[in-house]
């Protein structure tokens, strides 16, 4: 009676089932992401009052913080998928890990660019070597390394396993980098910046931020489903179910 969950998971792991499942969920996830994103933007850009210290520049927070959170959330998701891919050699886990990497890299890039656009008017500089910023930059390099290693192999599945191994090494590395840069900053007595020091945000500012965080989660799901579907089509090119899809989409 209770083994329908493992059975269902097992079935979901098979590419054609996942293809259909992801295809059914993807539009819903994207709609929710767009809807929540629109509400959050309206709340953040129009309804929320200007900050008494930072003026209107703080409004970058509504995309910066959700992107930063997503850059780490996606790395964690990629790490879990990579671990499953290495231990149980499930093809779907490899696809999920490898297709998460470009989305994570996109969010990390957004975090860095919006952060420096926020830093310029607030701190007077585009970039500072503070632990949080440096860790984020290192995270971007980790993502790029994973993507690069994946594409360096002729054999896709072998590349996915090698890149999954690199992703797991990276998970150990990020906290070490954060700690060491923190230590380095105290040694160099650099400009200490604490942008989140005045942390008690009013509810008017908080709810658009939380809504945006939810929207980016749904966006990740939608984008991951879309990418995984495409990747499965490319990987399973010789199989019958893919041929059927190709034949069906030929006649529009």
């Amino acid at each position: 009676m209770s083994n329908w969950i493992p059975l269902w998971l097992h079935k979901l792991g098979s590419p054609p089932t996942f293809y259909r499942f992801a295809g059914a969920l993807q539009p819903w996830a994207m709609t929710l992401a767009l809807l929540l994103g629109a509400i959050a933007l309206y709340g953040g850009l129009v309804l929320a009052p200007a900050d008494y210290q930072q003026g209107d520049a703080y409004r970058i927070i509504f995309i910066h913080v959700p992107s930063a959170e997503m850059s780490m959330f996606i790395y964690a998701a990629m790490g879990v998928a990579a671990f499953i891919a290495l231990v149980w050699r499930i093809k779907l886990a490899e696809v999920v890990a490898m297709e998460s990497a470009p989305i994570g890299a996109a969010f990390t890039f957004i975090t860095l660019v919006t952060g420096s656009l926020w830093g310029k008017p607030m701190w007077g500089t585009w970039w500072t070597w503070d632990a949080r910023l440096t860790s984020e930059l290192v995270l971007l390099f980790l993502y790029l390394g994973v993507i690069g290693l994946y594409h360096a192999f002729e054999d896709r599945r072998q590349g996915a396993r090698a890149a999954a191994f690199l992703a797991i090494i990276g998970i150990i590395n990020v906290p070490i980098v954060h700690f060491s840069v923190n230590w380095w900053n105290t040694l160099h007595q650099g400009s200490t910046i604490n942008v989140f020091g005045q942390s008690k945000m009013s509810w008017d500012m908080l709810w658009p931020l939380l809504t945006m965080m939810l929207a980016t989660k749904f966006y990740y799901a939608a984008s991951l489903f879309r990418r995984a579907r495409t990747d499965l089509l490319a990987m399973e090119g010789g199989k019958d179910w893919v041929r059927k899809i190709a034949a069906d989409e030929a006649k529009p």
Binding site: A57, R59, H64, T114, P121, S223, R226, L233, A234, A247
Partner: protein, 71 residues
């Protein structure tokens, strides 16, 4: 200053706030479009391969030459 105008000038920070939002949307739109294009390309290549296979089979059938095992 009217309300829409304050919205667009962002209290003098328009040069920072709007580019940040532009980057956010451009990157995410690119992330959305790229797999769509890739999907179209993958399916097109697959169909071309199927057509070639079909043609090879037809030719082999009409000439009644033993077909080499396809890879």
């Amino acid at each position: 200053m009217s309300a829409p105008q304050t919205f667009f000038t962002m209290g003098g920070y328009a040069a920072y706030v709007w580019p940040a939002y532009a980057v956010f949307f451009i990157v995410l739109i690119a992330d959305t479009v790229a797999p769509r294009l890739r999907r179209r390309r993958v399916l097109r290549e697959l169909r071309a391969r199927l057509v070639r296979q079909q043609a090879r089979q037809d030719r082999a059938g009409s000439n009644s030459i033993p077909t080499p095992p396809s890879p």
